[in-house]
Symmetry: C2
Subunit: 473 residues, 2 copies
């Protein structure tokens, strides 16, 4: 099922025989091809191969992620830690040789975690491991103690006719593991809308089974939103083992009382910002290829897979190109987005601040799915498909005709017509760690990081040296 | 390396052909053997096989562990939770049909966890995941903020001539994984004596890398002791990923300042107790075979592998025998020891309370190494070795001539001459979970539990029907 990404051996052979009349298999001929373009493509492919080889031999992306997670740690949007991360990013971008390094500031609604405790009061007193969901309101200072009503999944709550006045609602439901994280959307609904769904029925608080795939005792945080008009009630996630425990208690037919206390606060307007650096194009500097990751993280871990990896992969790819002394025709822009976790706010800010030049953005992608090796190229346009096929061939992974946002922070500019592609990473284990205290640097494999960095370097190089604007007519 | 314990298939064959002149391979003939004894041994072996088969088909041990961890949860020695565990054990022992069920109380010095926080203040501000070690003193109420001095392992601290006045000492050092947990003794030394070793040099507090083998972000607690005369300074363990992070910071040559706050308290005399139940012997009821586990747990998890599993395995083995309608000649005594974690206090109390009858204790063992399947029988005496060989043959695992305490709570009576053996469990992953919040029921595999329960049932049956007293002359 899972594609294996084995480049090193293939490259060590093809790199030796590389020349302008290279024996690299010709990809499916693009409609716009001419003989001269084919020669250019071959050259671009050979250069991309050099970059891939350099990335696979190096630790460019890995070292940058190590630096960010060690020297900053968690960097919750809007906090002084995220501000320190911007200082770090500016310095790191300059250090690796990016040009035009700057912060593009914007303002966000701040939210910070406080106390978060819960325990079963009866029938079997014991503590539960929970964490507030992002933007949840607090409980009263003394906590809420109430009978719990169990729903095996969100749909059961949505279908209920029960009066839940004064009750704490517990919504369970497992998330399936998949390389592409397909289970996240469905499982995440209870996190996003569970509070308002329960509040409609009079509930005073909600506990959900964490949206995640591991059996370790970590609660997974994540953003939530209140529906307009619905009473705002506090909501927290409990760890998988605690959710299992609650279910075992309910299976005994017991009436369950829980006490929970949450004290997060909405802190009002707070500063955030996108950090940007560029490799300025030699021929068409106004034409822009965007690569990036998000700089902020949730506050529980150190934001290694989410998304220190993405910062490392994109900045590391730029470093590979710079270190090779190679200059692309178009500008490669590396963006470290702020405030992604609390609503893609960096992505929206970028769209607003660059609206006038979005027509010159020829391609955009983001790494925000951990550090697992890419196993598919996702792209869904006829325009420039030959480039994507060449990229896929170089990476020895398939090109899949599949629509992609290009990544969470690319979504807003994709919606404005900017072409997007994605190197689909193997995220089978991503949701074991995602949004937990366990998202730490030790979980990242340097070889997998190198494959990602290689993929981003090759993608940036090919698209920044193409004549395609990747826009279907 | 690791022995595979596959019984079910073998049993389904041998059970069909079982008879008094069974073709079971004859073990090495014991010196005391006579023809009549051989016949008896064959009968005992066949009966033990029936028990093994019943255990492998059932969930006797698994269900008991599920009940304890769900209905009581954590049960820290000396707390009301441990008291609830005794109530649970009395009820459970009666429910499964044990006789003479009682609590044998004793008093312990209580200790309870409080606040436990730590963070790097400089150069890279961020929180650390830590936990107090058992019997650590508290920091001052406002915490301790001090420069940290790094020692890669305990030996480096022990060898140092540095003045550590006013410093926080950080002792790292990895623990090796092994099926028999061989890495625990060496790695655990820093936990047991680290505080006093650091205090000798003037340190004000100690942080150790957790004594454990996982890379998940859990701190592992565990008991410590102060050396007589050394100043008592607070000590906590940090999670593996946090220790890695600290080491990365030190690798940068930085001066590191940490603030840590611990507020555990010594609560004075507290009640504990051993819960005991028996299958009274039909011929020699005064002769006793002891099996058991410990009822208390650390407070962070729900004490599933440590040692809810041992309670399930030993009480489950008794249930297998009772449910089969079989009555042993000697008495099988199931003991759920209290207060093991804080110094084997239940084991010592049992020794003191039963000193007069220890001469009648023919064999003792305890399950306190998780729920992994047994892969070796450990026994080190000539007397009764044939029984141990028969047991090993029935379980299809090797008999290893190896000295064993019989388990932590057996140690005190072993030292008084009570024979001990052990079914060595596969503990390769035991120290991933041991003494962490992650020690929860979902980590237990029902098939492995069944193999343990089968092993304990067979061991208890064979020894309780033998004529050997297992004592070398």
């Amino acid at each position: 099922m899972r594609q294996i990404f084995i480049l090193a051996a293939a490259i060590s052979i093809t790199a030796c025989s590389a020349s302008t009349d290279s024996s690299i298999p010709t990809p499916t001929a693009p409609v716009e091809s001419t003989e001269s373009q084919s020669v250019k493509q071959d050259l671009s492919s050979q250069q991309a191969q050099r970059l891939i080889k350099a990335a696979l031999k190096g630790k460019q992306g890995y070292d940058i992620t190590e630096s960010l997670t060690t020297e900053v740690g968690q960097r919750m949007a809007g906090t002084e830690a995220e501000a320190r991360a911007r200082v770090w990013a500016v310095a790191k971008f300059k250090e690796i040789g990016l040009e035009n390094v700057r912060v593009e500031p914007f303002t966000i609604p701040g939210w910070e975690r406080g106390v978060e405790t819960a325990s079963i009061v009866s029938p079997f007193p014991q503590d539960l491991v929970i964490t507030s969901l992002g933007y949840s309101v607090a409980t009263p200072a003394g906590g809420i103690e109430a009978e719990v009503v169990y729903f095996p999944e969100l749909a059961a709550l949505q279908a209920t006719t029960q009066d839940l006045t004064g009750k704490i609602v517990f919504i369970s439901g497992l998330m399936e593991k998949a390389p592409d994280g397909a289970g996240y959307g469905p499982a995440g609904m209870k996190r996003r809308i569970g509070a308002s769904e329960a509040a409609k029925h009079g509930a005073v608080a909600v506990l959900i089974r964490s949206v995640g795939t591991s059996s370790h005792r970590f609660a997974h945080t994540g953003g939530m939103r209140y529906a307009p008009g619905a009473p705002k009630i506090p909501i927290a996630a409990m760890s998988g083992p605690d959710a299992d425990q609650m279910e075992r208690v309910f299976q005994r037919g017991e009436t369950v009382t829980v006490k929970m206390t949450l004290s997060p606060i909405n802190t009002g307007d707070r500063p955030s910002g996108n950090v940007i650096g560029e490799i300025v194009g030699s021929e068409s500097p106004e034409e822009i290829v965007v690569i990036g990751g998000h700089l902020d993280s949730w506050d529980l871990g150190t934001g290694a897979i989410d998304d220190g990896a993405g910062i490392g992969i994109s900045a590391g790819a730029a470093k590979v190109i710079i270190d090779a002394g190679m200059k692309p025709k178009r500008t490669i822009r590396v963006i470290a987005y702020g405030a992604e976790e609390i609503g893609l706010l960096g992505g929206f800010a970028y769209r607003d601040q660059h609206e006038a030049s979005l027509g010159n953005h020829v391609m955009a992608t983001e790494s925000d799915f951990g550090a697992g090796a890419p196993y598919e190229v996702h792209y869904n346009s006829a325009a420039g498909r030959a480039d994507m096929q060449r990229l896929a061939d170089l990476l020895e992974i398939p090109l899949i005709e599949k629509d992609t946002s290009g990544g969470p922070d690319i979504g807003p500019i994709k919606a404005m017509g900017v072409p997007a592609m994605r190197l689909q990473q193997d995220g089978t284990d991503y949701f074991d760690l995602h949004h937990t205290p366990d998202d730490t640097f030790d979980k990242i494999d340097p070889d997998e990081m190198a494959k990602n960095t290689a993929g981003f370097a090759a993608m940036a190089w090919i698209t920044a040296n193409s004549t395609s604007n990747y826009r279907d007519k």
